[in-house]
């Protein structure tokens, strides 16, 4: 019995570690396609991010003479962190392979670790843009982490557990004020998701204009394989946040979704819905001025606080 459980966990671990990076570029491609359709453009194919990654992996890499080992190892650390995060989130209605080895605080700390190395790599090459991007990223991150934490806390409070798998299992049973708290927390989480993943209205993922860059400024010095890893890690992180959002805040499953493939299908539809929400926001809202960002980030934090108080009552 114990061996069977270990074998199943190992299979799930392998599946999730492979599946999340494999599907993340597709998720980015779907968002881009949705945005193109909403903006009345034809847009690139949904597999375009894969083509971009393939191109970058085969390109020559140039590394600045002024950069240290931090610049060289940062892409591997950031990418590895997203793989570990991938093993921490529950998929297909099953507990996460790393369930019990870390809770929501571990999740948030790992996200912060990736952001730290990303910012460090931006500073390391000594370029003006990298420093500017790192400074902006850290300012935004300091407020975003509070939004992420406080959107998770009401769910943890109501589920009486900080384990992501247990939280995902129990959110479907929330009723009354618990349900209202969950929906308010979802609002806070969605704002934090956009900020954490450098999306509109916090950042423009496709800009290289010096006045508006945040994430792109930090990875400006990268090229070739390391740039591919950075781009892939960013896609992984966005996909992971979408999975966590769906699993924790939109947990309902129809009665007919009883088997693993059907559960995966419904989860896929819900992730598609979240992709639509991101594409809709990015097509209808302009990028906010940098000094207006704290307002929105503090709103995310306040929504979390309101949800937490509602959960406590």
């Amino acid at each position: 019995m114990g061996d069977a459980l270990i074998s199943m966990t190992n299979t799930t671990l392998l599946l999730q570690v492979v599946l999340i990076p494999a599907l993340a570029p597709l998720f980015v491609g779907v968002i881009r396609k949705m945005k193109a359709i909403m903006q009345n453009r034809h847009g690139a194919s949904i597999v375009q991010p894969y083509r971009e990654l393939r191109k970058l992996f085969t390109k020559e890499e140039i590394v600045s003479e002024d950069s240290s080992f931090i610049f060289l190892i940062a892409p591997f650390i950031v990418f590895a962190v997203t793989l570990v995060l991938g093993a921490m989130v529950p998929l297909f209605g099953l507990p996460a392979p790393l369930a019990g080895h870390g809770d929501l605080l571990t999740f948030i700390s790992l996200v912060a670790l990736a952001a730290f190395f990303l910012a460090l790599s931006g500073l390391d090459a000594g370029g003006a843009f990298g420093g500017m991007g790192s400074s902006r990223e850290m300012t935004i991150a300091s407020m975003t982490e509070a939004g992420v934490l406080f959107s998770f806390l009401p769910v943890a409070f109501l589920a009486a557990s900080a384990d992501l798998s247990l939280m995902a299992e129990r959110t479907g049973e929330f009723t009354g004020s618990g349900l209202v708290a969950l929906l308010i927390a979802l609002g806070g989480f969605f704002i934090a998701l956009l900020a954490e993943n450098a999306r509109y209205p916090f950042d423009n993922p496709s800009t290289h204009l010096e006045l508006t860059m945040v994430h792109e400024a930090m990875i400006l010095e990268y090229s070739g394989r390391r740039l591919a890893l950075m781009e892939w890690a960013a896609a992984n992180k966005l996909f992971l946040f979408a999975i966590v959002g769906v699993q924790l805040f939109i947990p309902w499953m129809p009665a007919w979704a009883a088997t693993a493939p059907l559960i995966a299908l419904v989860a896929g539809l819900k992730i598609g819905l979240l992709a639509f929400a991101i594409a809709f926001v990015e097509s209808t809202i302009a990028k906010l001025r940098y000094f207006r960002l704290p307002d929105l980030l503090l709103s995310s934090f306040m929504l979390g606080v309101i949800a937490l108080i509602l959960a406590a009552f």
Binding site: S299, F301, M302, V305, I306, I309, F313
Partner: protein, 217 residues
């Protein structure tokens, strides 16, 4: 009150409260007016449910009058004022969005922890009283924090709507004629206020109270 009526009233009362919460977040005057219309329709719906329970023809008539006056006529008047183009499309607030959310949190906590327990003997359902009172205090906060005159008019009308909802849920009803009179009062007040706002805009070129304050100095 039977449970199905309480459940239906709870939905409409939630709509009254949520309308005020969204009003706090809305910046456009047109959105504020639309939300006020929706809130008024929810209040008339609540009265309609009570009229059905009481089998009272006069209450049905008052519900219809509220629907017509506050759900249609007053929003039309305010929209007409906006369409003249003298009033800006958006209204500013003294508070930022997180500060507004914090204010709303304090208001609802105050109602939940102090007012509802104090009124426990008077109200038929604590949940309904909580929502109506929260809507009342949230509307008051809206009137205090908005700078533009039109937004303040909408906030005062929202206070009146919340007050009607709360009084209705307390079971404090008066003669139908008096209730008609109140609806007529609101209508006349809206006419006078819209004419007054029009005059202020023509004379001073703005309805923003911060700009008008500078004019007096």
């Amino acid at each position: 009150m039977d449970t199905s009526l309480v459940a239906a009233l709870l939905i409409l009362d939630t709509a009254v409260f949520l309308a005020v919460v969204v009003m706090h977040l809305a910046k456009k005057h047109s959105a504020l007016i639309a939300l006020y219309a929706a809130q008024s329709i929810a209040v008339s719906g609540m009265l309609l449910l009570i009229a059905r329970e009481e089998h009272s023809a006069s209450t049905y008539a008052v519900a219809a009058a509220i629907f017509l006056a506050k759900g249609a006529l007053v929003p039309w008047l305010l929209r007409r004022l906006l369409a003249k183009g003298n009033i800006p499309a958006t209204s500013a607030s003294y508070l930022s969005t997180p500060e507004t959310l914090f204010g709303l949190l304090l208001v609802t906590l105050f109602v939940q922890t102090l007012l509802v327990p104090a009124l426990a003997d008077l109200v038929r359902s604590p949940g309904l009283a909580f929502l109506a009172l929260s809507a009342l205090f949230a509307s008051l906060l809206l009137a205090l924090t908005r700078k533009g005159a039109l937004a303040q008019i909408v906030a005062i009308l929202a206070i009146e709507n919340s007050l009607v909802a709360f009084v209705m849920l307390l079971g404090l009803r008066t003669h139908a004629l008096l209730e008609f009179g109140i609806v007529l009062d609101i209508l006349v007040w809206a006419f006078v206020a819209s004419a007054f706002v029009g005059m202020i805009t023509r004379h001073f070129g703005s309805t923003d109270v911060t700009i008008m304050k500078q004019l007096s100095e």
